[in-house]
Chain length 131, copies 2
């Protein structure tokens, strides 16, 4: 069940399409694209984190926003949440195999943008000077 | 000028870091991640579009949101806006070379999510059934 609006292809299977309203892939792309989800996935791409450490890594996120973001990513099957029995109990977050794949692609995008800062900065200055 | 908060590396150059508040790369990642920006970049990855055709391709976007999204992407140097002299004049949007690179990476992410719809759907059902 893919919940996509696209017409069935010749195989009569529904074809997933991020452009189709109501397609799960479009909703997932939106979940991943949110500012905090992107950074949480990139951080978890570095390894597992406890909640508070993750919150420090994702600079500027509120406890509530990080918590909501992680719930969304867990529901989409990208992040696991494990309660480790200890005193006090610890909650640890990590990526699922699908989450690893998503985070890898986000890392490539982030690398490109980090390399492109001078270009983006110049484009912004040119745009702004046009008034 | 990269506007990043990170400490200068040994070379004394500022190092871009998407995790750093105030880093242009973090802001650009956020611009790109917005729902409509992702879809507009993916659409323009297929070729140039006039405004109204792009609006039809990015199903569900309002005129105002698409217009704001394109302005943001133009300012970041990812999209060009050309007014073609004709009667009536046409406005055409296309990707810059940097925009092509960004759109290519987004397309890889979208392909992954389109392939993963059954997995995400199953994960959501399992999560929701936990109540």
């Amino acid at each position: 069940m893919s919940a996509c609006d696209t017409d069935p292809g010749p195989s009569q299977e529904l074809v997933a399409d991020v452009f189709a309203r109501g397609c799960t892939s479009r909703a997932t792309l939106e979940d991943i694209g949110s500012k905090w989800a992107q950074l949480a996935l990139l951080a978890l791409g570095e390894g597992g984190y406890r909640f508070n450490a993750l919150r420090r890594r994702v600079e500027g996120v509120s406890e509530k926003m990080l918590s909501q973001t992680l719930q969304t990513l867990e529901r989409d099957g990208l992040v696991t949440r494990d309660v480790v029995s200890a005193i006090p109990p610890r909650v640890e977050y990590a990526l699922t195999p699908l989450g690893e794949q998503v985070a890898g692609r986000l890392r490539e995008l982030a690398d490109l943008l980090e390399r492109s800062v001078p270009q983006v900065t110049a484009a912004r200055a040119a745009y702004d000077s046009r008034g």
